[in-house]
């Protein structure tokens, strides 16, 4: 087991930069997730750690050993491929034993270890099967066992659940977490499913266009997004472009870019930003308060009209037009109260403590940004 350090990594294919100046540290024993939209460089980064690509510039370190130019077979990483990459001409046993045979272990020891690891993934009954006779979930567990049995320093998983149906996915998620905790192995997990990322990870790195946007625990990423991309990519959010007016006592004052008469007040300090940054206010739908009558003596209150009310069971999703902007609000399905109907006049409030001010990086000319 060891930590992984990516130092200033850039990877170019011809003239296309798939990964740009990436700096990351994955701690020992951590469950670390790369999250991001398709084509943002997650797989590329993972493959540089496994050794299938070499970085154009920068270094890859396991602990304090420089692995940048070490061949894949000498890295002792265990990789689970998206399509599992099980050897179709071998049985379950032979697949799992492959890495041990390469390491020239005795046949008795190989047998013992393979049986143990198959037991761990609950496949001991299938040891003699041809891999083509296994279901998708079973194949995936063989792939996991094959990677774990060599006791790798780092476990690499590239969207291992994307080929499975929803139920099996849930099951495998728990399974992977259980194995990871059992072995206490440093794990890097690639996904573009945010629920998966939030529920499984110790820490998450959010990627976009080959750049790392933010690194943090699931809570930090969700509650304190570093910019509007992260805020919008993880969960639902309302983004309102704003202009900074100045400080007002303990709070910060902003006005809407689209309507200077509308003001927003925020309590939290926004993350580091530069003077020329355009700013947005982000507020999660579940934080938006909805009133039938105008509340008095409160700030960040706007009058609006309900456009659409979606009943989703536990909650009701409201789309409320504030004139310049339609915001989304999530209210619990509280049966004692009549839920707002389309056409109703309502007042919404953005509680100051939940308003987050973040730099805008989407939909505007590229500029340097810090996170």
């Amino acid at each position: 087991m060891s930590s992984v350090l990516l130092e200033n990594i850039t990877k170019s294919f011809k003239d296309y930069q798939a990964v740009k100046e990436l700096n990351l540290e994955v701690k020992k024993g951590e469950f670390f997730t790369f999250l991001g939209p398709s084509g943002c460089g997650k797989t590329t980064t993972l493959r540089m750690i496994a050794g299938f690509y070499y970085p154009t510039t920068g270094r890859v370190l396991f602990g304090d050993r420089d692995m940048t130019r070490v061949v894949p077979e000498k890295r002792n990483t265990g990789m689970v491929f998206q399509n599992y990459a099980l050897f179709p001409h071998m049985t379950v046993f032979e697949n799992v034993a492959f890495g041990l045979k390469v390491r020239r272990l005795g046949s008795a020891e190989i047998k013992k270890k393979v049986e143990q690891s198959l037991k761990k993934v609950r496949l001991e009954a299938f040891i003699g099967r041809q891999v083509s006779q296994l279901s998708g979930g079973q194949q995936q567990r063989v792939a996991l066992a094959r990677s774990l049995v060599i006791e790798p320093e780092i476990l690499l998983l590239d969207e291992p659940l994307s080929n499975l149906d929803a139920r099996l996915r849930d099951e495998m998620r728990t399974e992977i977490l259980r194995l990871q905790r059992d072995y206490g192995i440093t794990t890097i997990y690639v996904t573009h499913d945010q629920v998966e990322a939030l529920s499984m990870s110790d820490r998450i790195a959010v990627f976009n266009f080959g750049e790392c946007q933010q690194v943090g625990t699931p809570k930090e990423i969700y509650n304190e997004p570093a910019n509007d991309f992260v805020a919008a990519f993880i969960g639902e959010t309302n983004l309102i472009p704003v202009i900074w007016d100045g400080k007002g006592g303990e709070t910060l004052q902003f006005s809407w870019e689209e309507n200077k008469n509308k003001k927003v007040v925020a309590e939290t300090l926004f993350s580091s930003y530069e003077r020329d940054h355009h700013l947005s206010v982000s507020i999660r739908p579940e934080a938006v308060e909805v009133f039938d009558e105008e509340p008095l003596n409160l700030q960040n209150v706007y009058e609006g009209n309900v456009e659409l009310a979606q009943f989703t069971g536990a909650s009701v999703n409201l789309f409320i037009s504030l004139g310049e902007k339609t915001v989304q609000a999530l209210i619990l399905n509280n049966q004692t109260r009549r839920e707002p109907q389309p056409g109703d006049k309502v007042w919404v409030r953005f509680p100051e403590s939940h308003v987050r001010v973040i730099p805008r990086v989407m939909n505007q000319p590229a500029r340097s940004m810090s996170t």
């Binding site: 496994a50 050794g51 299938f52 070499y54 130019r69 070490v70 061949v71 894949p72 077979e73 000498k74 890295r75 002792n76 990483t77 265990g78 990789m79 491929f81 998206q82 399509n83 990459a85 099980l86 050897f87 179709p88 001409h89 492959f98 890495g99 390469v102 390491r103 094959r146 990677s147 060599i150």
Partner: protein, 561 residues
């Protein structure tokens, strides 16, 4: 390490390039150079003679080659395409049997096939004479020979290309496409014209180019059947036999130019974006034929077709049982026994060619196996500059007509060269295995390529990730998975080597003469029976190999073409 990876690629590339340069490129260049020599000096004399007005025989031979090839394409398509439709679109009793029988002509080496056609339909052939006797005619009603003979043999052997490529395309067409068209209100004819035919076009064009190239290069059929009729591949042979190597070189260059331009055209055509199906693996469903009359006639036609297809094989078998000297002036043979086969074991002179053929084919095929697997691996799995060039070089021996390959070898290796370690190869044993090897390089490479391309890269990566070095992963993961492809190509190379004739006739010596050459000799001595017995041996060897490959490796013969 990156550099290590590069160095390894280079290490694999060196032997591949060396072999190709030494035995494909260099001999071709020698021919090219030679073609510009006449009476000791550099000049265009050979080409002037070729295109000149003094003797038009060469130009006429070129023209003959071209128009025979065009007609061969036409006739092969007329047989192959409808057959493919009938066998893949309709279900009737015996369909599966007839459709396998349709590829029978592959099992017939070219020379043996031509010989069978001569015995069957020639001047004193069995069929015309049987009709004459049955109907009490004075003369045979028809006979083949010259152009008609060549064309019939070509159609018989080459329709298989159309049949197989069109069949596999029909099978891959998603039936819902046609159904969608019917659903949109199109009639049968419109659906065929607007949907089916456009989808089949790539296959038909591909097969046409292939047949054209093959008949341009065809040697055995003109050699035995042409009479006074001349085609270009035959001209090369006669120039060589007459000792005019420089003229032979010029003729080879011209024939090569035609063939290579077809190769390049074919590559271009196949690499063009064609509308290949997005959905795979949906078996075309065949319509059951309900009408009992139609059903009956389909079966009868099928049986008749199989009989016609098998007639050459049967003829060779029957003739091989006719002892020499017992069938001279009679219309039909009357004595049958296995004397011709017994001679194999009693007369060393009769056995020698069989042994030679086996040894030669084995050596050449071994070379093809090793070289083919290595080359294919480099081509498919390694990155390097000039891959396209290497690919063309590998395909070159396939495009070059056999006669040209033979001429190239004669011109390159009738003097000491560094590639032969200072030896003269022409006139020795080794020139023949080398020739077979060169001719069949593309077979193994192509069929191995096909399997390697299907091999998912992530399997290799998984193996390396688990700690396997290159050699281990090649042996334990790559090799077992591409074995069927390798074996298909290798066995086909062996089969082809056993039946090879055109380069053999240019390069053989008395001590290494293979079966094909002995067949020719026996025919010259009018020992039809012995010639047919040799033919049977070739057919059985080929049948045996195909049987083994099907049985043990699950390889279908059609896969390897």
């Amino acid at each position: 390490m990156k550099n290590r990876d590069r160095r390894f690629t280079l290490l694999l590339l060196i032997p591949v390039i060396l072999v190709l340069v030494a035995y494909v490129l260099y001999p071709s260049l020698r021919t090219l150079i030679e073609s510009f020599h006449h009476k000791g000096g550099w000049n265009l004399k050979n080409y002037e003679t070729f295109f000149g007005t003094e003797s038009r025989s060469n130009l006429r031979a070129l023209w003959n080659s071209v128009y025979i090839s065009l007609l061969s394409v036409l006739f092969s398509a007329l047989i192959g395409v409808p057959l493919a439709f009938i066998f893949n679109k309709y279900e009737f009793p015996g369909r599966s049997f007839f459709s396998s029988a349709a590829i029978l002509p592959i099992v017939l080496p070219s020379l043996v096939g031509v010989m069978a056609f001569m015995f069957l339909y020639g001047e004193s052939g069995l069929v015309p004479n049987a009709i004459k006797d049955l109907l009490g005619l004075k003369h045979v009603p028809f006979k083949i020979g010259g152009v008609s003979g060549i064309l019939i043999v070509h159609a018989y052997t080459m329709y298989v290309y159309f049949y197989m490529t069109v069949s596999s395309t029909i099978r891959s067409i998603d039936p819902s496409l046609e159904e969608a068209a019917y659903n949109l209100g199109a009639g049968r004819f419109t659906v065929f014209r607007k949907v089916t035919l456009p989808l089949l076009t790539p296959a038909i064009v591909g097969a046409s180019l292939l047949v054209f190239m093959t008949s341009m290069a065809s040697f055995s059929a003109p050699f035995l059947l042409a009479g006074g009729f001349r085609v270009l591949s035959l001209q090369i042979y006669f120039s060589k036999v007459n000792g005019n190597l420089q003229m032979a070189a010029a003729q080879s260059v011209i024939l090569s130019v035609v063939s290579i331009s077809f190769l390049l055209f074919m590559r271009w055509y196949q690499n063009r974006r064609d509308y290949r199906m997005a959905t795979k693996g949906i078996g075309a469903h065949r319509s059951e034929i309900k009408n009992p009359f139609l059903k009956g006639s389909m079966v009868i036609l099928g049986v008749l077709g199989v009989i016609i297809l098998l007639l050459p094989h049967a003829t060779i078998l029957i003739l091989s049982l006719v002892p020499d000297g017992t069938w001279t002036y009679q219309t039909y043979p009357s004595v049958f026994n296995i004397e011709n086969y017994l001679f194999l074991f009693t007369e060393p002179k009769i056995w020698d060619p069989v042994r030679n053929s086996l040894i030669l084919a084995f050596l050449a095929t071994l070379g093809n196996l090793v070289f083919g697997v290595l080359t294919s691996y480099v081509l498919v799995k390694r990155k390097f500059y000039g891959k396209n060039m290497l690919d063309i070089m590998v395909m070159l021996p396939w495009a070059l007509p056999a006669t040209v390959v033979g001429m190239n070898l004669i011109l390159a290796f009738n003097e000491p060269s560094p590639f032969t370690f200072g030896n003269i190869l022409v006139g020795t044993f080794w020139i023949l295995p080398l020739a077979y090897f060169i001719r069949h390089i593309p077979l193994v490479v192509r069929s191995t390529n096909a399997s390697l391309e299907q091999l998912d890269d992530s399997l290799e990566e998984a193996a390396r990730n688990l700690g396997a070095g290159w050699f281990y992963l090649f042996r334990r993961v790559v090799l077992p998975l591409v074995m069927p492809g390798i074996m298909a190509g290798t066995l086909l190379a062996f089969v082809e080597a056993v039946g090879e004739f055109p380069t053999s006739v240019l390069l053989y010596t008395l001590s290494n003469r293979p079966i094909s050459i002995e067949i020719m000799n026996q025919l010259r001595m009018f020992n039809m029976g012995q010639a047919a017995a040799y033919g049977m041996i070739q057919i059985s060897l080929i049948g045996l190999v195909l049987f083994i490959s099907n049985k043990f490796f699950g390889i279908k013969a059609e896969r390897s073409l």
